[in-house]
């Protein structure tokens, strides 16, 4: 399925019942050099728009919100050793976590790529 995007600059890719979540290229560019990512533990229940992860640049810590309701099934452990992966490949290898969704219909509330592009250009 094609990627979906939130207004908080997370992307979601939904496949086989599991949603992979990360931050967008726009988000990583705004944050600058990522030096630390705090990921949610497997099994953690996330609520749409609630805190899910923390991403830290040299200068500041920023919250990453859950774009959907669900339960974390996997966190990207690569980011523990190489947080710069978020800068290098934000929308592929730099994914943050995977979650099982409580309500797939919430996906419809997210933007598609064209809508997100318009959204970012309007910022």
């Amino acid at each position: 399925m094609a990627k979906k995007f939130s207004q908080e600059h997370e992307w979601v890719e939904y496949e086989d019942g599991v949603a992979t979540v990360g931050i967008t290229d726009y988000a990583q560019q705004s944050l600058g050099d990522i030096v630390y990512v705090e990921l949610p533990e497997v099994g953690k229940k996330l609520t749409k728009d609630g805190d899910a992860a923390v991403v830290e640049s040299v200068k500041a810590a920023s919250d990453v919100y859950a774009p959907l309701d669900g339960v974390v099934v996997e966190a990207n452990e690569e980011l523990d050793d190489n947080p710069a992966l978020v800068n290098e490949a934000p929308e592929s290898d730099g994914w943050f976590f995977r979650m099982e969704l409580s309500d797939e219909s919430q996906l419809d509330e997210l933007m598609d790529e064209a809508a997100y592009k318009d959204f970012v250009e309007g910022l």
Partner: protein, 370 residues
């Protein structure tokens, strides 16, 4: 990004920052570059490896004249200014009657006058404070027709000497009025990165010309406020408003060294009774270096706990040190926990994370002392 307030002031280098692709942010009433396309980490590492050019024109430049200027200024700072020879610079602080710190500043004996550099966010208050307290014919002149830039890093001396050979001989914390690339500048061998380098006061109408010349040298990159902050934190240097302010005394701030011998004996500066009592009997808390274990940075206002989980202090500056390649911090802890090697916990996002009190700086100073 939020809209900037229309009243933000611009330095003489504003157009150059924009042209270089800087991300501009409001800082102390000015529209300032927080980073350039190289990024905070890259700018930080470049400054430690070669040379970085910083616009610090938002800081206040002030001249004090009048034959009683030294004695009058000594009423407001705990440093021995009388002992400063012409061409020498000293780091000091304005204290108040509570013995706490109104601002930190650089004081230079410029021969016929004292030349002061004060913090941007404090400069209006500092000037009011000085005008109210400096008597006996001392005149305060605000220098608002000069920009201030800093060239910092191991290649700074080599680069600047191409435009002004005599800067090579200046020692750390020395000052000279020198023509740089044919422009009349005040050059101080100082800075706030822990590296060798210079601060250069230059007429506003020649500032961009000089900045472009320096940036054209292959060793030099433009550096924003983001890297300025990570560099000074690695160097263990205080940021006014974070690490020292009107709630901290110089003794608590581990700045005993700015209270010079004669002033310890004579007093005669604001808050001297409190500060000298703390010098003699110790303070209850102290500013220390704090090294978080692991990789998670701990930011300002993070509580510091002892092994029993009791709060013993707070981080005042914390982040990531690109040269250290890990999280670094400084803050205040109760005096019994201030010894290097003491294990503490930092409460980050509801989790106690181990850390250790360490000696400052995190990155060794590399000043040129001749």
């Amino acid at each position: 990004m939020a809209d900037h307030q229309t009243e933000l002031l611009k330095t003489a280098l504003y157009d150059l920052h924009v042209e270089l692709g800087a991300k501009m942010v409001p800082f102390a009433g000015y529209d300032m570059p927080v980073q350039y396309p190289l990024g905070v980490k890259g700018e930080h590492l470049h400054t430690r490896a070669k040379a970085g050019l910083f616009d610090v024109s938002h800081m206040g430049q002030v001249r004090l004249t009048g034959e009683n200027r030294v004695a009058e200024l000594e009423k407001l700072v705990p440093g021995d200014i009388a002992i400063l020879k012409p061409g020498r610079t000293r780091y000091s602080a304005f204290t108040n009657d509570d013995g706490t710190i109104l601002d930190d500043l650089m004081i230079t004996n410029a021969g016929d006058s004292l030349f002061l550099v004060i913090n941007a966010a404090c400069k209006d208050d500092d000037i009011v404070h000085m005008r109210a307290n400096l008597d006996n014919g001392v005149e305060l002149i605000e220098i608002d027709d000069r920009a201030l830039m800093a060239l910092q890093g191991p290649d700074a001396a080599r680069v600047l000497a191409r435009f002004a050979p005599s800067v090579a001989d200046l020692k750390f914390m020395s000052f000279a009025e020198i023509d740089v690339a044919g422009i009349a500048c005040f050059v101080t061998r100082s800075g706030y990165t822990g590296e060798d380098g210079y601060e250069i006061s230059v007429p506003n109408d020649r500032a961009e010309e000089l900045a472009r010349k320096l940036l054209a040298e292959e060793e030099v990159e433009a550096i924003g406020l983001g890297a300025r902050d990570s560099l000074r934190l690695e160097a263990g240097l205080c940021l006014y408003g974070n690490d020292i302010d009107t709630t901290t005394t110089p003794v608590e701030g581990d700045l005993n060294w700015i209270i010079n011998k004669r002033r310890r004996e004579e007093g005669g500066f604001k808050g001297a009774d409190i500060i000298l009592d703390q010098l003699a009997n110790g303070a209850d808390r102290k500013r220390v270096g704090i090294k978080p274990e692991g990789k998670a940075p701990a930011r300002e206002h993070t509580p510091v706990l002892n092994s029993d989980g009791e709060e013993i202090g707070e981080i005042t500056s914390g982040g990531f040190g690109p040269t250290v390649d890990g999280p670094i911090a400084m803050g205040y802890v109760a005096i019994e926990f201030a010894a290097p090697g003491t294990k503490v916990d930092l409460m980050v996002r509801g989790k106690a994370r181990p850390a250790e009190i360490v000696e400052l700086p995190f990155a060794p100073h590399r000043y040129y002392r001749g």
